[in-house]
């Protein structure tokens, strides 16, 4: 993925920065661009805006560039950046906040299949209280790639079935988990 440059002329828009600071509780203004996050990031090679530039873009209020970036969906949440930041910015949490914002604002994910995966994962959790891997994988494959997606997964699925790695029946639904989803979604 070629790295994307930021625009040459920028009119800072503080409202997006304020939104991110408030939603995440992280002080992104503390970043002085030391680049430790980017240097430690195992996925920086595949990002269009590397992590320290994402933070800079948030400082400058470049909302659209950030929310439409590949970076926020490629980040694997390994937390190396968070661990190494000398200014104690939980960068992985800022990435969470950016994904949450993209979702709540209906911004089209540049890596749509990642959003589909998280939806399938959460739907399984909500339905059964525990994630049923087989059901989750089938839902993901169908929603991200249709029948072709399902077919491409079938080889792996069959092999796992033969090795006894597929749990057959899902867990029974859990009322408390459904309540947690309902209440936190209403708030968040």
């Amino acid at each position: 993925m070629p790295e994307r440059g930021l625009p040459e002329t920028i009119v800072p828009s503080p409202s997006f920065r304020e939104h991110v600071q408030e939603r995440s509780g992280e002080n992104v203004c503390a970043c002085y661009q030391c680049e430790k996050c980017t240097n430690g990031c195992p996925l920086a090679f595949s990002m269009d805006i590397v992590p320290h530039k994402v933070i800079r873009a948030v400082q400058l209020g470049l909302k659209e560039q950030v929310l439409t970036s590949d970076t926020i969906w490629i980040c694997a949440s390994c937390e190396t950046c968070t661990t190494r930041c000398p200014n104690d910015i939980d960068i992985a949490h800022v990435m969470d906040c950016l994904r949450q914002t993209a979702r709540s604002e209906g911004t089209k994910a540049s890596q749509p299949q990642v959003a589909v995966f998280h939806d399938a994962f959460l739907a399984s959790m909500r339905r059964f209280g525990r994630v049923h891997e087989g059901e989750m994988a089938v839902t993901y494959a169908l929603k991200s790639g249709g029948l072709k997606g399902l077919l491409s997964l079938s080889g792996m699925g069959l092999d796992m079935f033969r090795k006894g790695k597929v749990k057959m029946l899902p867990h029974r639904p859990n009322r408390e988990v459904k309540d947690i989803f309902r209440v936190t979604e209403r708030k968040g």
């Binding site: 994904r99 995966f117 998280h118 959790m125 525990r130 988990v177």
Partner: protein, 283 residues
């Protein structure tokens, strides 16, 4: 010795061999793992992407159950461990969490290697060895989320953890020092960006080889699956042959303790480790 365990969703499916070998190894050691009653998913990698409150509440529900048992909670999955620790920090800071009206938190959340090392101990582990893991050169892979970020995980040694190394060394394995113990395997990109996930995995396999290891030990369902299952595909794409056995460290414990079910667990792997172990005279 009795202790609570939060198995996590993968232990009955993807990581069946892990669940089976945990049970067998703990039985030999006289440890009784009591499954947390009515546990539910920790929220894993998807809840925190969507909604912070949802993520904390899903994990915290399980901590509220553990709170009532009062005994330490062992967590054999890196992602579950970290999500439960995040919720613990919230609760201990007195923040309001949906569905958890009261929390005392008089127990610790532990990784499995840490539990075996600290509570069972090297001497007790050595005592039970019937077949020392002599000649096995192992690189121990801990997984990012048992370690990072240390202010959440309370990891003693986040860059160079030693717990699994010491457990396997006590069983006679030649444990290799290496610098990729805590590097990311791209776990949550397995289905969505297999290309990136395979690049990260390949690097870990290469580094284990460079360290002189002939196999890897893991302590997490996703870590194991990621390192084990894509090696044929990585070989095809890169032109270099990868066939490095990847074990759950509890399988190696079972092997050293002379457990008869080892063959069944290993039969669930993608890279079949049985010829490798036969070659070492261990099977």
């Amino acid at each position: 010795m009795e202790v609570s365990i939060y198995p996590g969703c993968s232990l009955e499916g993807l990581a069946k061999a892990y669940g089976e070998s945990i049970e067998a190894a703990s039985k030999v050691l006289g440890v009784s793992f009591r499954e947390l009653e009515d546990w539910t998913c920790c929220g894993s990698s998807s809840a925190h992407v969507t909604n912070d409150e949802l993520a904390v509440a899903l994990a915290a529900r399980n901590l509220a159950i553990a709170d009532r048992t009062g005994s330490d909670l062992v967590v054999p999955c890196a992602a579950c461990f970290q999500r439960l620790k995040v919720a613990e920090k919230h609760l201990k800071a007195g923040k309001a969490v949906e569905g958890v009206p009261r929390y005392d938190g008089r127990f610790r959340i532990r990784t499995l290697p840490d539990f075996f090392l600290e509570d069972v101990g090297e001497a007790a582990l050595r005592d039970k060895v019937k077949k020392p893991l002599t000649g096995l050169s192992v690189a121990c892979y801990y997984g990012c989320l048992t370690l990072r970020p240390p202010k959440i995980t309370d990891a003693k040694n986040p860059d160079n953890p030693k717990e699994m190394d010491r457990v396997l060394a006590a069983l006679g394995a030649d444990v290799k020092p290496w610098s990729f113990k805590a590097d990311c395997c791209g776990g949550n990109l397995t289905l969505t960006r297999p290309d990136l996930h395979m690049k990260l995995t390949q690097r870990i396999l290469d580094m284990a080889e460079e360290a002189g290891a002939d196999c890897i030990a893991a302590a997490c369902p996703m870590c194991h699956e990621n390192l084990d299952s894509k090696q044929a595909e990585i070989s095809r794409e890169s032109g270099k042959t990868y066939a490095m056995p990847v074990f759950y460290f509890t399988e190696l414990m079972g092997l050293a303790f002379g457990e008869l079910d080892v063959q069944k667990w290993l039969g669930r792997h993608t890279v079949d480790p049985r010829p490798f172990l036969q070659g070492k005279g261990l099977l």
